[in-house]
Symmetry: C2
Subunit: 296 residues, 2 copies
């Protein structure tokens, strides 16, 4: 058995996994790196998972995500790309004063000297079903696009798509005061279409304002349009930087993967969705096995 | 004589102009559309300029900018591009209950149905020295790039550059807590250089975070780098949508025009800076003459 924990910036997800890697129990809480004060990690862990560990004091505990960052529980140095899952497993970071381990994040250091980083997504990659895909998209606050050449994770690129959507929706002239209705699929597609026009993202963003000023975009539809515009720009940039392969696997929540897959299909790409939480649980178990924390 | 007022979103600038168009007196205040409650415009005007008008009750008053928008003093309908300054002068909007007039803004309605708008910049264009330039850049919260074919203002494009810089600097992971030092010209140029890389703006934004994580960009330099990155993206998009002419006139404050001109020169474009406030004052006077508000 294994206690696997995906501990991110805003959320924590714990999985109690049996000998075959099946999720026997799970526990989620909105208690991420941002909610935990310095030095508060042991207390937070005990509150969240103390009863699980008390029931089996010898259970191995493996963690992934921002818990291993500079401001996390204990800093797990990045592993440089290209890297294999076996290398990740060989470089687990022990948390001082505990029997727990953290899976290191990955570092991609471009030739031009712009570093890019991943923490947590490398573990989700390890949990994807075989055969391992060549291109994986993990949408979110900071969307990751990963290029794999099994057994290696070759390189990746991060896009600030989700965060830009959030700050524009809350703090710019595109902020929405009205309560939103249902997600407007048509407006979403219009936003995606717009991303293919000339003028660039900075101009397209002001265009959202122009559409609203002349009532060519209804207030409740603006959010969907903006989402399509930003995701469209992300896809276009990602496709130009990635090998043209037959298939892109999109890993995340249903809501996000369905939006991303719709855009990919609009661009003529075969897209397959995978559940991000299940991938995290499976990945924690896979890496625990490779590391010998549990019998393989 | 003329009382010309450039009344924008966050500031108001009033100019007392003599018969030759020279600025005899000027008055600025951080009292823009955002600071004035509905119905509060007459009071604000009296507080700001009441003594000037009392000194010469028959002085014509001409206004430009967001004062003519839907949430301004009185809505002055947009004039569609292409438009001439004479047409702007012929379409002055009288403010009900007063003897004042507002210069209408311009509307550019692209074939694909994404409207773009200007309010105030059309007046600055009228104030530029002859010969009238073909391409004018007016940087700011919402940067405007205008293509002129005298006597027509042919079309224009707006870029949300300044606003994106502000929201990212205050509300994203790129927010700066440390006080800034001097503007880092080197970091600014690095940001401009970065804008030419593949990957797109969404990826380049996360790269700022990567550089900071590995101390390849000092905290106080981040702001200049981000500025260069965004202005670089704006220039690249604007150049691809505008005719390649010999010269771009950049209109605004010294700080902004010098940054924009530096980027243009890095891209091989001959740039000339023009003072935005003086252009506004001259433009108000020019349009007042065309409209017959003052003797020509």
């Amino acid at each position: 058995v294994l206690l696997g924990i995906d501990w991110g910036t805003t959320n924590v997800r714990g999985f109690w996994l049996d000998a075959e890697g099946a999720v026997v129990d799970r526990r989620c809480a909105p208690v991420g790196l941002r909610q935990i004060p310095a030095g508060g990690w042991p207390t937070a862990f005990d509150r969240l998972f103390g009863d699980w560990v008390a029931a089996d004091a010898r259970v191995p505990v493996l963690l992934s995500g921002m818990v291993g960052s500079r401001h996390g529980w204990s800093e797990a140095p990045y592993l440089a790309c290209p890297a294999t899952f076996a290398e990740l497993a060989a470089r687990l970071h022990p948390i001082p004063g505990t029997r727990h381990h953290i899976i290191p994040g990955l570092l991609h250091d471009l030739a031009q000297g712009i570093p890019d980083v991943i923490r947590g997504e490398e573990t989700q990659l390890a949990g994807l079903a075989e055969p391992r895909p060549a291109v994986v998209c993990l949408p979110g606050t900071h969307s990751k696009w990963v290029h794999c050449e099994p057994p290696h994770i070759r390189h990746f690129q991060t896009y600030m798509t989700g965060e830009l959507f959030d700050v524009l929706s809350h703090h710019s002239i595109l902020a929405q005061t009205a309560a939103e209705g249902d997600f407007d699929e048509h407006a979403f597609r219009d936003g995606v279409t717009r991303s293919a026009d000339s003028g660039g993202l900075l101009h397209h963003l002001f265009g959202v304002r122009g559409l609203r000023l002349f009532d060519r975009l209804a207030g409740p539809s603006q959010s969907a349009y903006l989402s399509g515009l930003l995701i469209g720009h992300e896809w276009r940039a990602a496709l130009s930087g990635m090998p043209r392969t037959g298939r892109v696997v999109v890993v995340g929540t249903d809501a996000l993967t369905s939006r991303y897959a719709a855009v990919g299909r609009a661009f003529g790409i075969d897209c397959v969705a995978a559940d991000g939480e299940l991938a995290a649980a499976r990945g924690l178990w896979q890496i625990a096995r490779l590391a010998g924390l549990i019998p393989s």
